[in-house]
């Protein structure tokens, strides 16, 4: 059940990315180039996604106190704004600006017939793996905010 629901959600995500152009590095990079070959499309992608999620989450949390296929909602509870958050995000932004790919943009175009997304995704997965390995080495000194742990409730 929960595999099927995740699969369907993933299909909708993939179609959304493909239609929107978020998986096209040329288009993404042009959004970030207002003094050059600017293409404003991404503003509408992010705006459309944000407004839909904002309204959808509110309706959902008002109507239900648990999801359909799991015992509880897993929502990050940390409110700490630290160097990890800011530094990691800055580094991610630099990489997005170099490549035009973000993780959610690259996965849906992985198998549409081009080799560049494959190169990018392999490098990106290596980056995630190395960062996780780094965390384990540093364990205790600098406790990371978990991304993959179990359910925590709170909104």
């Amino acid at each position: 059940m929960k595999l099927l629901t995740a699969l369907i959600s993933g299909i909708v995500f993939g179609i959304g990315i493909a239609i929107s152009g978020m998986g096209n590095p040329a288009k993404v990079l042009n959004f970030f180039d207002p003094v050059g070959t600017w293409d404003a499309s991404l503003l509408l992608v992010m705006g459309g996604a944000l407004v839909t999620t904002f309204i959808g989450y509110r309706l959902l949390f008002r109507m239900r106190d648990k999801p359909v296929a799991e015992p509880s909602f897993a929502i990050p509870v940390s409110r700490q704004i630290d160097a990890r958050l800011v530094g990691g995000s800055a580094v991610f932004g630099i990489g997005w600006g170099i490549t035009g790919f973000c993780p959610g943009g690259a996965i849906p175009v992985l198998a549409i017939g081009y080799w560049e997304p494959l190169i990018f995704v392999i490098a990106m997965m290596a980056g995630i793996f190395l960062a996780m390995a780094g965390d384990r080495l540093w364990k205790g000194r600098n406790k990371p905010v978990p991304l993959t742990d179990s359910h925590a409730t709170g909104r």
Binding site: S9, A18, I19, G48, L50, V86, A90, G95, W96, L147
Partner: protein, 142 residues
Amino acid sequence: METVFTPWEALIGGVLIGLSAVMLMALNGRIAGMTGILAGLVPPFPKDWGWRAAFTFGALAAPAAYAALGGRLEFGVPVSTAAMIGGGLIVGAGAYVGSGCTSGHGVCGMARLSPRSIVATCVFMAATFVTVFVVRHVIGGV
């Protein structure tokens, strides 16, 4: 490389991305953040890797099926392979350390009005604008 402004495709695609985020929360109780999902698909695999694999497979299979049936998606890569490899590494590491990317922070976290996500989104958007400016108008390409 110029691209055409596509307001309707952008808006419809964006709404679908949002719908997917609401669906994954309603059905699986999860944030639809691609970095967090992918972080569960590298060793050491967490116990709940199954739904992550299913979401990722759905996300890549739908456009792949469209392309296999002869559909065409606009696609262009104006950067070198070396930049793709180096950039890919730092996208993965940065998004992991920063606890999220465009989907996790930019869509899901912003929609929850999470202070962390608002800060993260402002930081990575600013960094991306600066990087593209430097790459294109100072260095002249990578």
